[in-house]
């Protein structure tokens, strides 16, 4: 089922962009693998270049070296450990940020007064770069997990807050009127019309929040941590191990992409009532 819909999405995407869509469509199951062609070519060229010593191994190790490092980090358990630490911090920060963003978005979306009071301040805080918070949070919450979790929560908060506020305030007046002719009070309008109608945009906000969460955790762990994927990055720089850095980067990429994919799938299932031409997932 999952396989099938991803294939369909990939095919549709190709159909929109490339003239060769017809030939791809005739090969069911092949569509999704098209995205692998470029990375594999790059890997091959890279390996050739490294083998021929065209690039310095001290700066850019060969794919084979990276694979060895990866395997070593898997075997001594350090990679799994650092991934767990990072995912744990991210999960905490994500839950915290989503909860706070949901409360703030509900309040400001439903009550114009709350929006006039809160939104200008929150908008101002939103433009503070993520790294600028780090010294303050370390001072306030210490060098350990708390400061990192809070930083991630800040990153997650804004997309969730902004999207939910916009979604609730922007619910179609025509649907609200249907509630009003059925004698719905404010609370029932909120529960039975505004919240469900806001769901797609809210989920988009949560997805955006998760993406920012991954950005922020890299910042957090690069400034004063002794474990986690971000620590592998700074540590790799200190001990001169680009292979180790690249393994961490790849781990970030894979984790970020797969958690986003999971969220997108969930969101799509929750809002499959939408009358959309193409699913968003899988692309």
């Amino acid at each position: 089922m999952a396989e099938h819909s991803v294939t369909a999405a990939a095919l549709t995407a190709r159909h929109q962009t490339a003239g060769s869509a017809a030939s791809v469509r005739r090969l069911p199951g092949f569509g999704w693998s098209v995205g692998l062609i470029v990375p594999i070519m790059v890997l091959l060229l890279w390996q050739l270049a490294a083998g021929g010593a065209w690039i310095e191994a001290d700066l850019l190790p060969s794919p084979a070296t990276i694979a060895q490092t990866f395997w070593a980090m898997v075997q001594d358990g350090s990679l799994a450990n650092d991934i767990l630490v990072t995912v744990y911090r991210l999960a905490l920060g994500f839950v915290l940020g989503t909860a706070a963003g949901t409360v703030a978005g509900l309040l400001t979306g439903a009550l114009p007064l709350a929006r006039r009071l809160l939104d200008p301040t929150l908008q101002a805080l939103r433009s503070v770069p993520s790294l600028a918070w780090v010294p303050l949070f370390i001072l306030w919450f210490g060098i350990y997990d708390t400061s990192k979790v809070i930083l991630i929560a800040v990153g997650v908060f804004f997309p969730v807050y902004l999207n939910l506020m916009a979604a609730i305030a922007g619910v179609d007046r025509k649907l609200i009127e249907v509630g009003r002719v059925h004698d719905y009070g404010k609370l029932r309008l909120m529960l039975r019309i505004q919240l469900p109608a806001a769901m797609p945009l809210y989920l988009t906000g949560i997805r955006g929040g998760l993406g920012l969460g991954w950005m922020f955790i890299a910042s957090a762990e690069m400034m004063g941590a002794n474990n986690g994927l971000g620590f592998i990055l700074t540590n790799g720089e200190e001990i001169g191990r680009p292979d180790q850095i690249i393994v961490a980067i790849l781990a970030f990429a894979v984790l970020g992409k797969s958690t986003d994919w999971l969220l997108a799938r969930t969101a799509e299932r929750l809002t499959d009532w939408q009358d959309k031409l193409h699913p968003e997932t899988g692309a």
Binding site: V178, V181, W273
Partner: protein, 253 residues
Amino acid sequence: MTRRLDISDLTKAFGAAPPVLGPLSLTLDGEGITAIIGRSGSGKSTFLRCLSGLETPTRGTAMLGGKPIRPAEVGFVFQEPRLMPWLSVRRNIAFGLSHLPKPERARAVEAAMALVGLSAAADYLPKQLSGGMAQRVALARALAPRPDLLLLDEPLSALDPLTRERMQDHILHVAQHIRVTILLITHDMDEALALANRVIVLRGPPGRIVLDVTIPEHDPAYAFPRDRTSAAFQAMRRRLIDALEPAPVALAR
């Protein structure tokens, strides 16, 4: 018997602007369809919205059975279906029934679906419906709470001509099978003549009644389904057109 609807001196102005409706007085007694026709902008929607509680009249009253109209007594169908896209047909129809216990709610939904011929589509989502089906769901949603007064604001004007005729049959069917006073807004006088036993022509702004004709109930010339080619039908049509046209004499009023 249905309860009597008494509208007296109903007037609506938006803000400081001159009134768009009224003063308008009207009494509806009994079942059947009263059609209101008028050009675009003549205040027809404003009139229905004042009756439903969506707008508050600036002056005047609307009473049902001697008391101010309560929202629970009114069913409303808009020009667009306005279904909740996340709810199935069944749950859309149950939208105004949350005060009922479950078994009764289910029964009311089934009855409303049967009335408009939707039983087979109960579990569809709105995105799977045609325009005509969606509008029938909206009709069933308005009927499910068993209103005394059914307000239809150009419910057919967004439909294609063939679907529109079938929808007209559905509305006629409803009028003949349940006790409800129906006010139908349309800008199509053939539609008004095909369905109504009373036709009111509104002209404005500010919207006022310029013609109010009751169609002779027992005259065979107007038996349902009405023969649109008959001389009586055509003569009545002529009267409505004359009332709609802002003729110089009428303007001088």
